[in-house]
Every structure is written in C-alpha cells, then in structure tokens.
C-alpha cells in the first residue's frame, strides 16, 4: 500500500498530515548519492532526492518541503517542522515514521523506526481496526 493510496481510500474518514522534518540524507550529511548506495537508494526509494543540502533556515526547509510535495503528489497536505526539530524529536520521527491518533487525542498506532519499519500497510490495518471500533 502506498501513501497516495491511503489518502485516496481514507481521506474522508481520517485526516492525513504530512510532517516535513530534518533531511534524512542531505548531500552535506549522510548522503546516499555515492557509488555504492546510489543504485540501492534508487531501487528502495525511487522518488527520494539525492540533490539537496540540509536546509539551514526555516525558509529553506519550507522551500524543499514544497518541492517534495509537488514532486511526490501524495495528495496529503504538508506541514513543516521548525528548525529546532521539536516535533521530530518528540515523535522520534527521523528519518520517517507513521502514527495514528484517535478521536480522543491518544495514540492508536505508533509505527516502528523508519525506514525499515515504515509500513503503510500496517497503518492501513490500524486505521481499519480503529474505524470498526468507533463505528
């Protein structure tokens, strides 16, 4: 299950929010554009960018977030974490993570650490179970 499929299937019943956080693999960080990793990265994350430096200001981060939103076309509205990475750190979100928050504001599903435990199919299962409970 891909993220845009989740959006198409559930957007009437669930509010999906994309939270843009600190870059996972910027050129000036843990860059995966080198010879060994570029090919692997292309296979596992074909839409990820290997051409961005780590934003140094909120304006830069918002600009990259906007590019990402346009390029990936998930349909999910994107909001950008501030440069203190507060929301990212609070949710231990880096590099990528999924959560489902219930109507009462409590966590229903906390996905595992990404990238290996970033599993939209598990989020889908959690959404299905939750919607049955509250129906």
């Amino acid at each position: 299950m891909r993220l845009h499929e989740l959006y198409e299937h559930y957007h009437d019943q669930v509010q999906l929010l994309s939270i843009y956080i600190r870059e996972a693999h910027p050129i000036d960080g843990w860059w995966l554009g080198r010879r060994l990793t570029r090919g692997l990265f292309r296979v596992y994350a074909p839409k990820a960018s290997m051409e961005h430096y780590d934003p140094k200001t909120i304006e830069e981060r918002r600009a990259v977030a906007g590019e990402c939103e346009t390029a990936l076309q998930y349909g999910i509205r994107t909001y950008v974490d501030e440069m203190d990475d507060h929301v990212n750190n609070t949710y231990a979100a880096w590099p990528t993570r999924l959560y489902l928050i219930g109507l009462d504001g409590h966590v229903v599903y906390a996905g595992g650490l990404g990238p290996y435990d970033f599993k939209p199919a598990k989020l889908k299962a959690a959404i299905d179970d939750y919607l049955k409970q509250v129906a």
Binding site: L36, T37, Y74, Y79, Y91, H106, V107
Partner: protein, 72 residues
C-alpha cells in the same frame, strides 16, 4: 581511485554514520509516544508559511494519520 576502494570508502561512510546516529535515534524512540499515550500537541505551518495546523484541532472530529519524512 579504483571502484573497489570507492566501494570500501562508501561502506565505511555508511557504517560511521549509522554508529553515530543509531544511539540518538534509539534514545528518542524510548521517549516517543506509544499506543495509549496522549499524542503531544503541536502547531506547524505549511510549506508556504502562511497556513497552520494544530494536532488537537481534529480531536472529536477525525482521527489523524501522521506521516513524517523528508525529500532525501
């Protein structure tokens, strides 16, 4: 530089970064909200910087799926 030495350097680069980052990630994960916890509230602006969202504004209205990530 030969291909082999490039690959060796790339592998070393990956290992060094993992060793540096994984302990930090695991520490944050221990403190992160788990199923049943009240989700920490936040307010963030969109990529234009003009429209904001607050997590708690959806309480009682819709469940919320949070998708965290970046372009790289």
């Amino acid at each position: 530089m030969t291909i082999i030495s490039e690959l060796v350097n790339d592998a070393k680069f990956i290992i060094q970064h993992r060793r540096r980052i994984m302990p930090i990630q695991k520490k944050l994960d221990r403190q992160a909200p788990k199923a049943g916890d009240l989700a920490p509230d936040f307010t963030l602006a969109d990529s234009s910087g003009t429209e904001t969202v607050t997590l708690s504004q959806f309480r009682g209205i819709k469940p919320v799926a949070l998708v965290f990530g970046s372009y790289t």
